[in-house]
Amino acid sequence: MPRLIDYKVAYQSQYEKRGQRALLLVGLLFSILSVRLIYLQILRYSEFQRLSGRNHVRLLPQAAARGFIYDRHGELLVRNIPSYELCVVPGEVQELDLLLQRMKDIAGVVPELARRKLAKVGGRYYEPVPLLSDLGEDVIAKLSERKSELRGLIIRMQPRRHYVHGRLLAHVLGYTGPVSKQELDASYQGRKPRPFERVGKAGVERQYDDYLRGHSGGIQVEVDSYGRHLRVIAEKKPRLGEDLYLTIDYKLQQASEALLAGFRGCVVALDPRNGEILAMASKPDYDPNEFAVGISSDRWAELVADEAYPLQNRSLQGEYPPGSIYKIVTAVAALETGVKNPYQSYLCQGVVNFRDWPYRCWKEHGHGWVDMNKAIIESCDIYFYRAGLRTKVDALNRYSLMFGLGEKSGVDIPGEKAGLVPSAPWKRKRYGRAWYYGNTIQMSIGQGFLLATPLQLACMMAALNEGGTIYRPHVLKEVRDERGELVRAYKPQVNSTLLVTKRTMRIVRRALRGVVNTRRGTGGRARLRTLSVAGKTSTSENPHGEPHAGFVCHAPAEEPRLVVMVWFENGGEGGAVAAPVAKYLLEEFFGLRHDRELEQIREMMRKEMELG
């Protein structure tokens, strides 16, 4: 029903008023939008500029391949081999259920586990999710056969550590693993690792991680919001890790391990002239390749719980009472302080009473009249009880420390133990008791509270050279880069110098030659026709059963070039079990014809141990 005069025309002013107001409001709203635009695009421009840059540039880290490890002659010990990893790119999968079923059939991927991993992806659908590592060749073959029906699945190559000789030198080489939280911490020693890298966890791999690890690089890629890679913006090539050349002599090491295999014990061979370790074996051991593949927690728990301690490097982590080998220290200390005349003889009748307490010699019926020379050669306990009592605990303690006992040698392998050299104050502090007479008696033959690692005993033997210098033992010889250029050469370092008279040194070294080379000497089984060997046996009483069998020697006796230390846990008599092993290794090192074949020696050792 149209009116004659339209309301609009009649009430134009009201319309004008309200219309203008509405327009004013629109103007206000647009002003707010403009202010906001100025705020975002002009005032906060630089901030958003930065954010937009970060948004679409992603850094894909690439860990550098670790350096190789060689022995002193260039024998390859550790390298990298390609390892294949199964990944799924969620954005390219068409039928997830089917894919997972196939992967289960072919590679044994657990579908639930895979689903859980894939659920964590978030929005980055085009980033590969690793599901299975270290694929076997058969699996790779099967997967590539069916590649067309397995869309979204890729196989990625990654280098993995390969310990070429398996268990050989396992404890020295150590192993690598993914970076842990603690290692990412600021307090970590050395170059800080990146979260995606693998770092050395034990042995040389850990000690020289900085050289081996190299410098990781990466590629900057432009990605879209799904994580799809569009193009490479920049690339920084990773710098390969540097190669290590160890002081280890592969052949000597191999011989040591072959001799030890199946027993519990260790061998240390070093050059007394500079501290280079030529062989360091410890049994039982483990295969570091297990760690390279990625060790399961079950297997790890098994290794840790093993009562034979396969993870322990006995050469520097085993603390044992040194036994008769310690008589070298007692002899030196005695000659320097308590015993003025080494040619004075005492009667050994197999037992002696001190303060109404009987102390026995290991030889039941005694050694008869014994002077220092004979005491060392035949390892007479009673002579050393007397010598020790004359020398007193303080001097024994002092000379022990001078020989490097009771403190870490500083070898370049992590985890070294310090051993223990007791003293009167130590005992008071530890046990709240005074130092007894009997403590000194026990200490003078290397028993009682004394503890030393086989490496320390080897260093002790190494001290018996012309100058009395003890070099810091080490396994690193050189570091070289990928082109073979020398990066670092290990400079021998002096740990300490033995301050003793030439006379003392002469007497002790003569006696040690006698241990091996005289008819009654305990170390006769290490005797060589063409090489003068000097050494000392040890049969060390311990609370774990049979005595430990030990033998330490150096050769040639006139100017030692090699120290060999052999130790068998609960092996029995040192002269019978350990000395033949040392002899074989000396023959090996000096290129002599073997008196007995390796298997013969092992057979002999087995028999001795059964007898003992």
Partner: protein
């Protein structure tokens, strides 16, 4: 209606307004091209937009020749038709990612009836107010226009098209306001509107509720619902004063901005054309709105005036809400930016609406001359 009258309409047309609209459309196509060209399957979007633009222009020039009184006569029928379409789309509509908002024609063309509803409502309310005034007090009717809006709101809301459904009542409100409704009644209407909206909160889909929630705290879920706001702010902000240049915006090209060809098209403008581009677009919108209001104020018939006001109101709401959402000062509700966003129905209905507006303008000026 004959060829003669048609040429007269074309000759007397306000080409300034049409030029502004066409310029916006060209900008839209350029930005849709930029948003889509680096993504597989979206490269052809700008071509579709061009096709729709052509169709819209045909409708535009055809409907210019039709006098507004004819639409005014048909207003209730169009409204009823629109209501039935809303119901039909809920039943027969093409489901696209969980919503039924579109009619599909052979799977090629899609039409969104909620767009038509905007036009139908404004027509019906304009007619309703102008013809339903109280005989003695001349007060505009209150409950009838309200009812018209309230019928549409839930139907569109169910599709679900939250943004559009929330436009109906405010648009009616604006029309009632300019028609001279007393403030007291208006405030009562606002109360009613709020009462109507509050239960909607519970009926909101999770993603819609999240969108509203993250508006107040975008970092609440930076990868989920807050993602849109943050990414669009980064895009606009990183554009700076001059912009990164056409096809050079990394946020746009790498699809960090979701829905960058439709709801978030303004973020593409902000990133690639910078403050200059944004300011230009804002000026164009302001120009169109001012023109629209002037046409409304000049109109000689109340129906025409109210229709013009309603149309401009809806237009303004869409522009302000969409840009405000892109700039992170209003919640994400899913409204298109008229003439700029990709979307055929939106474009077509906008052109039809402005055809009616320009026809009103033409006839007003013609009447004055006579």
């Amino acid at each position: 209606m004959n060829v003669h009258s048609a040429t007269r309409v074309y000759r007397g047309l306000d080409y300034g307004l049409l030029a502004a609209i066409l310029f916006l459309c060209i900008c839209g196509v350029a930005n849709i091209y930029s948003a889509g060209h680096s993504i597989a399957g979206m490269g052809g979007l700008y071509q579709r937009q061009l096709v729709w633009l052509a169709i819209s222009l045909v409708f535009f020039f055809l409907l210019l020749t039709v006098d507004f009184s004819i639409f005014s006569e048909l207003a209730y029928k169009i409204y009823a038709f629109s209501i039935s379409l809303q119901i039909l789309v809920l039943i027969f509509g093409a489901a696209v990612s969980g919503s039924r908002r579109w009619f599909s024609f052979f799977g090629v063309m899609y039409f969104q009836p909620s767009e038509l509803a905007k036009l139908a409502l404004v027509l019906a309310v304009a007619k309703c107010i102008s013809e339903g005034r109280d005989e003695t007090t001349l007060a505009p009717p209150f409950y009838k226009p309200l009812l018209l809006a309230c019928l549409l709101t839930p139907l569109v809301y169910l599709q679900p098209d939250l943004g559009t459904s929330l436009l109906f009542l405010p648009a009616t409100l604006v029309m009632l306001y300019v028609a001279g409704t007393k403030w007291r009644r208006m405030s009562r209407l606002v109360m009613f509107f709020l009462l109507l909206v509050s239960p909607l909160w519970f009926g909101l889909k999770d993603y819609q509720r999240d969108r509203l929630r993250v508006f107040f705290d975008p970092e609440y879920d930076p990868l989920g619902a807050g993602y849109n706001i943050i990414q669009s702010k980064i895009a606009v902000g990183s554009g700076g004063f001059l912009g990164k240049g056409w096809l050079a915006g990394s946020q746009t090209q790498l699809s960090f901005i979701p829905e960058h060809h439709t709801d978030f098209i303004f973020a593409v403008v902000g990133e690639e054309w910078g403050f200059i581009g944004c300011a230009l677009i804002l000026c164009l919108y302001m120009y169109i709105i001012t023109k629209g209001v002037r046409i409304a104020l000049r109109a000689r018939k109340e129906t025409e005036a109210l229709f013009a006001f309603g149309l401009v109101a809806i237009f303004t709401f869409q522009v302000v809400i969409n840009i405000g959402m892109t700039l992170g000062i209003l919640p994400v509700t899913g409204l298109t930016l008229p003439f700029l966003s990709h979307g055929g129905s939106s474009l077509l209905i906008s052109f039809i609406g402005f055809a009616l507006l320009l026809r009103i303008d033409w006839s007003t000026r013609g009447r004055r001359k006579r």
